[in-house]
């Protein structure tokens, strides 16, 4: 994941030859690497997508971190801390991947903090009870996995490699959430009700994580052509629903959709309409926690400034001392 100078294309022979080489590589399912020529729009699409993905990992730490101090046992607390730490790691892998396209880390963070780049709308919902930690692991990480597994074969090498690493780590996230919900579901009546309530609240927002329906998805077709994306939003959403239905049964919990039923003919589940108005509202910044998440993120960044500055000053001083020592020797 080394950075690379974006290759500019002021070549005597123009870009036609480069475009052909790029198209051929994508068609042959080869990976595009940082120093290869690539169309400007491909680069811009990747920066936007990878940045948004990285921001989601970082912002996604907040709703769960909310429960670390109140985890019901030391075991659960250790697990939750490990998970939140993983999400920080995922953000860093992805920022590194975005940087290989020539966009600096600080620039990406600036854009997050100023709202010019987005993060997944799912993290603008609050975690009201301990059961939400379970519902997030099962449903939110579950949806993320469904989205991310095909990204391991994305045409851009550094992004694909980051996704391989991330997917390996995600399965623990999903399983711990499922186990947590199972314990609650099999617990007291109140615990069971708490688990059900969490699933009721997280189910629909999780389905929205796959993005708008295919006929309204602005960038999908081009991304599929570039093999950044391998499956459409609706395809992945359907896959996720079909996976979740039997898992919910094993949990002894229901999914909050009266229209959810097996369709023999399609060999898939039918499910009810998604409230896209809500999705758009949350995306616009009007979700329950948008303000809180970004304020918290900015504060963490500002409050950490002195650490970054001190470390940089220490490094500068140290390297100066080493150089002088070198000269004296």
């Amino acid at each position: 994941m080394a950075t690379a100078a974006p290759q500019q294309t002021a070549r005597p022979d123009g870009t036609a030859g480069f475009q052909a080489a790029f198209d051929a590589a994508v068609a042959a399912d080869e990976r595009i690497e940082p120093r290869d020529w690539m169309p400007d729009a491909y680069r811009a699409t990747l920066v936007r997508q990878i940045a948004q993905h990285a921001h989601s990992e970082i912002i996604g730490m907040q709703p769960e971190a909310n429960w670390i101090t109140r985890a019901p046992s030391l075991r659960r607390k250790a697990i939750l801390m490990a998970k939140v730490q993983d999400e920080a790691g995922h953000g860093l892998y992805l920022y590194s991947a975005a940087e290989t396209l020539g966009t600096g880390r600080d620039e990406l963070l600036d854009k997050l903090h100023s709202g010019r780049q987005k993060y997944s709308s799912i993290f603008n919902y609050p975690t009201l009870t301990w059961a939400d930690v379970g519902a997030i692991g099962w449903l939110v990480d579950g949806a993320a996995i469904t989205n991310q597994v095909p990204l391991c074969r994305c045409s851009y090498g550094p992004y694909a490699r980051a996704m391989v690493r991330i997917c390996k780590e995600e399965s623990f996230h999903q399983r711990q959430g499922y186990e947590l919900l199972l314990a609650l579901s099999r617990g007291t009546e109140a615990q069971h009700a708490m688990a059900q309530d969490a699933v009721d609240r997280w189910w629909w927002p999780s389905l929205m994580m796959f993005g708008p329906p295919d006929d309204e998805s602005a960038h999908s077709a081009q991304s599929m052509e570039w093999k950044i994306k391998r499956h459409s939003n609706d395809e992945l959403r359907q896959r996720f629903v079909d996976i979740c239905v039997p898992q919910a049964e094993s949990l002894g919990l229901t999914l909050p959709d009266p229209e959810l039923r097996w369709n023999e003919e399609r060999g898939q589940h039918d499910f009810g309409p998604i409230d896209w108005t809500e999705f758009k509202q949350v995306l616009k910044g009007n979700g329950p926690c948008n303000e809180q998440r970004i304020t918290q993120r900015r504060r963490a960044h500002d409050e950490g400034a002195w650490v970054r500055e001190a470390a940089a000053a220490h490094a500068a001083k140290h390297s100066k001392a080493t150089t002088e020592e070198g000269r004296a020797a």
Binding site: M1, A2, T3, E99, D106, A312
Partner: protein, 103 residues
């Protein structure tokens, strides 16, 4: 391997390091990814936290990204061409009578 990423609000971005991990004794270090750190010592610590949270490594190298010189992708073909027309460098180039063993 590159230009420093374009500069930024604080203008204080820590330099970029490439991380190499030896997953087991007996294996070579392999490139795992990159990270930012103010100096080599912190780069190593960050690399431990970022790339070896699950026992993925027994040894780490961190190298300033700027210190890496890479072959150019544009010259890929001519640069590696000399090896393409030398099939006699491969053992399969040679015909050996059937039945000859340990060869």
């Amino acid at each position: 391997m590159s230009e420093t990423p374009s500069s930024t609000s604080s203008g204080q971005e820590w330099p970029l390091w490439e991380v190499f991990v030896r997953s087991r004794r007996g294996l070579a270090h392999t490139h795992a990814g990159s990270l930012h750190a103010p100096d080599a010592e912190l780069a190593l610590r960050n690399a431990r936290d970022l790339y070896t949270r699950r026992g993925e490594g027994v040894s780490l190298w961190v190298v300033p990204s700027a210190a890496i010189t890479a072959s150019s992708p544009d010259e890929k073909d001519p640069f590696f061409e000399p090896s393409a027309d030398k099939p006699y460098r491969h053992p399969t180039f040679y015909e050996i009578p059937e039945g000859v063993k340990h060869l």
